[in-house]
C-alpha cells in the first residue's frame, strides 16, 4: 500500500532502540535547513526570545500530539481533541472563577475568586479523561470505528462546551493559575517544560515498557496481538483515555496561557496535531512511529508558522507555502529512507 510502504519505511527500527537519531535524521535535517533559511531571511528569527516563543507556541499542540501518537500507533484516530480541550478548559475556568457570574471580571490577579489552580487543573484533566473513557468505550464495546466515534465526540463535546459557556469566554485568573501558561523558569517558559517532561515520559513508556510494546503490537496486527494473549480492548481503550488526559492538560495550559477559556478554543487543532504526528513518521495504519518523530513534526510546523509571520508573508501566500512545505518535508523523509533501505 503506497501509504503503508511509506509508513513502514519510516521509523521502523527506532521504536525499540534508545532515541535513534539516525532513523529520524531526515526530518531533523529538513527542520535545520528550514531554520537556516529563515534566519538568513530574517536574522531576528534566531534570537533566543523568538525560539522560546516558537517552543511555547507549539508546546500545547505538542502535548496533544503526544497523546495522538499513542492513538495513531494503534491505527486509531482522535478527532475530538479540540472539542474536549474547549470543554475541559471551560470547566477549569469555572472552577477557578467560582461559576459563571463573574466570568468577565478581570480579576485583580492576586487572589482567585473560586478554587485554586490545582483544582482547576484536576478538573480539566478529569473532564478530558472522562471524555476519553466514553469514546474508548464506544470504540471497544460497540465496535464503532474510532473515526466515527471521535467525529461524533468532536461535534457533541463542542456543543456541550458552547451550551455550558453560553458561547462567551471566561477569563481573568489569578497569577498562580496564569503562571502555568505565562511563567518562566530561568529563560524557559513553563509550558515548554511541561511539554518536554511529558515527551520524555511518553518516550520511555513506548520504548521501554511492556505497555508500550503492546501498543505497537496491537497497532501492527490486532488479531495476532489477541492470539498472543494481549487484552486488545483494554489497550485500545487506554489510548483514548491518554488523548483525553493530554487534551485536559493542554486545556489547562492554554487557559493559563490566554488567561481565558472559550468554547471555540481548539477548533481545527485535530488536523494540525495529526499532521505533526504523521510528519514525524508515524503511520496512520498503526504499528510504526516514535515520540521523537512527533516532537520534530510539531516543532517543524511551529517554526514554519512563526517564520512566515516573521517574514510578514501575506496571509494567503502563507497558506500555500505551508501546504507545499509539509508535503516536501515528508517527501524528503520518504526519499532518504528508501535510499537507506535500498529497496
Amino acid at each position: 500500500m503506497v501509504q503503508v510502504t511509506a509508513g513502514e519505511a519510516i521509523g521502523r527500527r527506532p521504536q525499540f532502540r534508545p532515541i535513534n537519531v539516525a532513523a529520524r535524521f531526515a526530518p531533523v535535517l529538513f527542520l535545520v535547513v528550514l531554520m537556516i533559511g529563515f534566519s538568513i531571511l530574517e536574522p531576528r528569527f534566531l534570537t533566543a526570545l523568538n525560539l522560546f516563543n516558537v517552543l511555547r507556541q507549539v508546546s500545547i499542540y505538542g502535548l496533544l500530539a503526544i497523546g495522538m501518537t499513542f492513538v495513531i500507533l494503534t491505527a486509531g484516530i482522535d478527532l475530538s481533541i479540540g472539542s474536549i480541550l474547549a470543554m475541559a478548559g471551560l470547566v477549569a475556568a469555572m472552577v477557578a472563577k467560582g461559576g459563571l457570574d463573574n466570568r468577565f471580571s478581570v480579576g485583580d490577579g492576586s487572589a482567585s475568586l473560586g478554587l485554586g489552580w490545582e483544582f482547576a487543573a484536576l478538573a480539566a484533566i478529569g473532564v478530558g479523561v472522562a471524555a476519553g473513557l466514553v469514546q474508548g468505550f464506544a470504540i471497544t464495546r460497540f465496535k464503532v470505528p474510532p473515526f466515527v466515534v471521535t467525529l461524533g465526540g468532536m461535534s457533541a463535546f463542542r456543543g456541550a462546551a458552547l451550551l455550558f459557556s453560553g458561547g462567551g469566554p471566561v477569563s481573568g485568573f489569578d497569577d498562580a493559575f496564569v503562571w502555568w501558561g505565562q511563567g518562566k523558569v530561568g529563560p524557559v517558559p513553563v509550558p515548554v517544560l511541561i511539554f518536554v517532561l511529558f515527551a520524555v515520559i511518553a518516550h520511555i513508556t513506548l520504548s521501554y515498557t511492556r505497555y508500550g510494546r503492546q501498543i505497537y503490537a496491537v497497532g501492527g496486527n490486532p488479531e495476532a496481538a489477541r492470539l498472543a494473549g494481549l487484552n486488545v480492548r483494554k489497550i485500545i481503550l487506554s489510548v483514548y483515555v491518554i488523548t483525553g488526559f493530554f487534551s485536559g492538560l493542554g486545556a489547562f495550559v492554554l487557559a493559563a496561557r490566554l488567561n481565558s477559556a472559550e468554547a471555540v478554543a481548539g477548533t481545527g487543532f485535530e488536523l494540525t496535531v495529526i499532521a505533526s504526528v504523521v510528519i514525524g513518521g508515524t503511520s496512520l495504519f498503526g504499528g510504526t512511529g516514535t515520540i521523537f518523530g512527533t516532537v520534530i513534526g510539531t516543532v517543524l510546523i511551529g517554526v514554519l508558522l512563526n517564520g512566515l509571520v516573521l517574514l510578514d508573508v501575506s496571509a494567503y501566500v502563507q497558506q500555500i507555502i505551508i501546504g507545499v512545505i509539509i508535503v516536501l518535508a515528508v517527501a524528503f523523509d520518504t526519499f532518504v529512507k528508501s535510499r537507506r533501505r535500498a529497496l
Partner: protein, 294 residues
C-alpha cells in the same frame, strides 16, 4: 392578546461571541414582545448550512425571518425563496443587496466600523504612527470589510500612518497571541498601535504585550466591545474597542419584523444604519454590554 408568531432568528456563527450577543438580545426582545416562538439557526460559518436552515424555516411556515447572513452574496437565493414564500425577512449587521423585497435592514456597516477604528488611531497619534493590523478569518466578509475600513481611514495619510505589520489571526484568541508574539519579535521597536479586527484577537495580543511588558505602552484597539474588553479598556490595558451596538441592531430588527407580521406596519425607513462608535476610557458607558461586566 397579541397574535401568536413563530419567527426564525438565523445567525452566521453562534460560536462567535459577537453573533452570540446579537442572538441573545434578539431572543430577549422576542420574549419581551411576548407570545412569540423563536426558531434559532446557527449557520456555523457555512453559507450552505445557513441556506438550508432558511429553507427549513420556509417548510415550517414561520411568520418571519431575521437573518444575519454569513455572506451577503451567497445567502441571496435562500432569502429570495423566503420572500417568494411571502415570508417577511429582515437582515441584521450584514445586508443582502442583490435581493428585492427585503422588509428592512438594520446594521452597523463593518466598513464604517473599520474606519472608526482608523479615526481613533489618528486621534491618538495626530502626527503619525506605526500600526500593526490583526486581520480576521480570511475570506469572511467581517474580516474583509473591517480591514477595508481601516485602510480607507489610514491609507490617504500613508506618509504618516504606516502598517508595519499585517497578518491574519483568524478572529482567534490563541492565534492573536502567537501572531503578536512573533510579530513583536520580528520588530526592532514595537508598533505604536495594534488594531485588531475583533476583541478576541485583541485580548490575545494583550497577553503577548504583557509578556513583553508593553501593556498600555502599545495602544491596543479591538472591535466588538465585548464585556471583557470593556473591562480591559476600563483598567487601561486596552485603549479602545469598536461598538456597533449589535444588541440594539438585533432588537430593532425583531421589533420591525414583529410590527409588520402583527399589524402589517411597514418600517418608515427600509435601512437603519447605526453609526459605530469607538469606546475608550472616556465614554465607557457607550459600551452596551458594560452591564454584563462585574
Amino acid at each position: 392578546a397579541d397574535k401568536h408568531l413563530t419567527i426564525m432568528l438565523s445567525s452566521p456563527d453562534l460560536a462567535f461571541p459577537f453573533s452570540v450577543h446579537i442572538m441573545k438580545e434578539m431572543q430577549d426582545e422576542a420574549a419581551k414582545l411576548g407570545n412569540i416562538d423563536v426558531v434559532v439557526s446557527d449557520g456555523q460559518r457555512n453559507s450552505s448550512k445557513q441556506s438550508a436552515d432558511i429553507e427549513a424555516a420556509i417548510t415550517k411556515g414561520v411568520d418571519g425571518i431575521v437573518i444575519s447572513p454569513n455572506d451577503s452574496a451567497a445567502l441571496a437565493p435562500a432569502i429570495q425563496e423566503a420572500i417568494d414564500a411571502k415570508i417577511p425577512v429582515v437582515t441584521v449587521d450584514r445586508s443582502v443587496d442583490s435581493v428585492k423585497g427585503i422588509l428592512a435592514h438594520v446594521g452597523a456597516d463593518n466598513v464604517k466600523g473599520g474606519e472608526v477604528q482608523g479615526e481613533l488611531i489618528i486621534k491618538l497619534f495626530p502626527n503619525g504612527a506605526n500600526v500593526m493590523n490583526l486581520q480576521g478569518q480570511p475570506g469572511t466578509s467581517a474580516a474583509i470589510d473591517r480591514n477595508k475600513g481601516l485602510h480607507n481611514a489610514l491609507d490617504p495619510l500613508a506618509t504618516k500612518y504606516k502598517f508595519v505589520f499585517e497578518d491574519t489571526a483568524g478572529f482567534d484568541r490563541a492565534k492573536g497571541l502567537s501572531v503578536t508574539e512573533s510579530a513583536l519579535a520580528s520588530m526592532g521597536t514595537p508598533p505604536d498601535a495594534i488594531a485588531a479586527a475583533n476583541d478576541d484577537m485583541a485580548l490575545g495580543a494583550l497577553e503577548a504585550l504583557k509578556g513583553r511588558e508593553l501593556t498600555g505602552k502599545v495602544k491596543l484597539i479591538g472591535f466588538d466591545a465585548l464585556p471583557e474588553s470593556l473591562g480591559k479598556v476600563r483598567d487601561g490595558s486596552m485603549t479602545g474597542t469598536i461598538e456597533q451596538m449589535p444588541g440594539k441592531q438585533g432588537r430593532q430588527a425583531v421589533d420591525i419584523l414583529v410590527a409588520f407580521a402583527r399589524d402589517g406596519k411597514a418600517p418608515e425607513n427600509k435601512i437603519t444604519l447605526l453609526t459605530p462608535v469607538a469606546v475608550t476610557k472616556d465614554n465607557l458607558n457607550a459600551g452596551e454590554r458594560l452591564g454584563e461586566l462585574k
